[in-house]
Amino acid sequence: MPFDWLRAGPPLAEWWDLRDLGNAVGGLLGWIDDRGGPSWLPYVVSGLIGIVGILLWSVFSQLFFVWAERRLVARIQVRLGPNRAGPLGLLQPVADALKVLTKEMITPRNADRLLFWASPILVMVPALVVFAVLPFGERMVLADLNVGVLFVIAIGSINTIVVFMAGWSSSNKFSLLGAMRTVAMLISYELVQVLALLAVVVFTNSMRMGAIVGWQDDFNTWIVFVQPLALLAYIFAGAVEINRTPTDIAEAESEIVAGYHTEYGGIRWGMFQLAEYVAGFAIAAIVVTMYLGGWTLWGLEEWVPGWLIFLGKLYGFFFVFIWMRGTLPRLRVDQLMGFAWKYLLPLLLVNVLLAGLEVLIWQENGFAAEAVLPAFAVANWALAVVLVVGWGQVLGHLRPEHRAKRPVLVKEVGAILYEPYPLRPGGSVPEA
């Protein structure tokens, strides 16, 4: 019998109970089964419901967040933001979407037509497919794979190829530069992602997203409390993956115009924009699921629909990305790669080792979770601070040339106060 898991569990309230939209779907499937439909019908129906639901939700969320981001960044930048179209400018994204839809789609003469045409469509795939394994609520998940975490990482790696296809096929030098930057960057940060998520899996002992949320629910804790370093690294890797400042070097506006989608216009550009937001939601959703307790909120999910809690956390976390974009300058590509390989990877390796040790101590001695988890939390937070600061010291990020300074004030003209750096003229300070 397919979808047993959807019908398993305690009988919830009626199908119209908003606390769990899976109810409604389960009711519908049961209704189809009762009528004796063909065996493949429940698959198709539930799949369609999930896909259409995620698609609609992501498009509307994107539209809303285009507005929200513009308003919030405007607030950060002491200006008003869109405020003409509709109340509070809420219709601005609609107007933007209409404009994008009616614009001409130009294909450069030297472009590789097949790949140029395919990339904007394919770029949506990895962004959307990730949501298949993410539980929006207790039973609201399209396919709760038991390798969900690995699936998320694998899908992320497809993104690399699509971005390369877009940049290469445009036959534009800025696009190619952007594409090569992205490829180099994404494969570096894939490792960071894997290690950051691995530390979580070590604790939860499962790669199933539902089980990870369940673990956090069971022990009444969020994984961020025991794995702060992993979350920090994952946020950074996520920012890299969705091209947000300080890591938007793939589409660095001030350097390479728009990176890999320089040549795209009209709705094709819109697809890239949409995919960027949806991928951002996906990263936020992964963070919420893996580190911030998913759809649970310490018992409140009994009263408030779990999917509302999940979306609330997701949007709240997405605000962090908006905030980052509004406040930080951009790193250079070699600095970003150096940060991944020299800074984050060693820290994460230590972190995974520690997580393994902790779980070993916990399991071998059969300690009670209530006693051992707070201890781990305190130890890991302290260690995270020590590691972050200490490793920064070791790498020399606190050396004089990394610290702010003041100009010398002089009264008389004619003196020369130049002190050369110990390096060649025109060069940059070598990384530690």
Partner: protein, 163 residues
């Protein structure tokens, strides 16, 4: 595997895999060939899902659709434009009968042999079983493989390093 869903899935995925693999042979542009190769690998990942090897399917996507094409693309980009065609050598025609004969042999063996087929269904949980096997029965090959990876990494770095 006789439900209609599996049958449809198998034929679709087989057509995708083989079709893309043939396109790798046929297209003239090496970058297009890489894209078709990725498509073929994704098809293989689908086949793995069909064979209830979920861990392998995801690993296949991660490595064969994510990592190795990136390597190939970098190799293509580091060599000049002129080397980006996908032409064949003069061995193309002689290779055909050879490959045909090989194909016929394997297929005949596959079809003629009476395999001791099991009656159980798909696997419930593969990841933990693979993990345990890797760290118990196959711990020596596992370690050797990791050393090999390290050696390959160092070798690749030393090969292309600029002195």
């Amino acid at each position: 595997m006789d439900d209609s869903g599996s049958v449809v899935a198998f034929w679709t995925l087989a057509a995708l895999t083989v079709g893309s693999a043939l396109m790798v042979v046929a297209v003239r542009n090496l970058v297009h060939a890489v894209v078709y190769l990725i498509l073929s690998f994704v098809g293989v990942a689908g086949i793995f899902v069909l064979l209830s090897a979920d861990f392998l399917a995801v690993a296949q996507v991660l490595i064969y659709a994510g990592a190795i094409p990136v390597l190939i693309i970098f190799a293509i980009m580091l060599t000049p434009r002129a080397a980006r065609d996908n032409a064949e050598t003069s061995l193309g025609l002689p290779a055909l009968p050879l490959v045909g004969a090989l194909l016929a042999t394997i297929i005949s063996i596959a079809v003629v042999t009476d395999w001791p087929e099991a009656t159980r269904g798909g696997f419930e949980e593969t990841t933990s079983v693979i993990g345990e096997a890797l760290l118990s029965t196959y711990v020596l090959p596992f370690e050797i493989a990791s050393v090999l990876l390290l050696a390959a990494m160092l070798g690749a770095i030393i090969l292309v390093r600029e002195d």
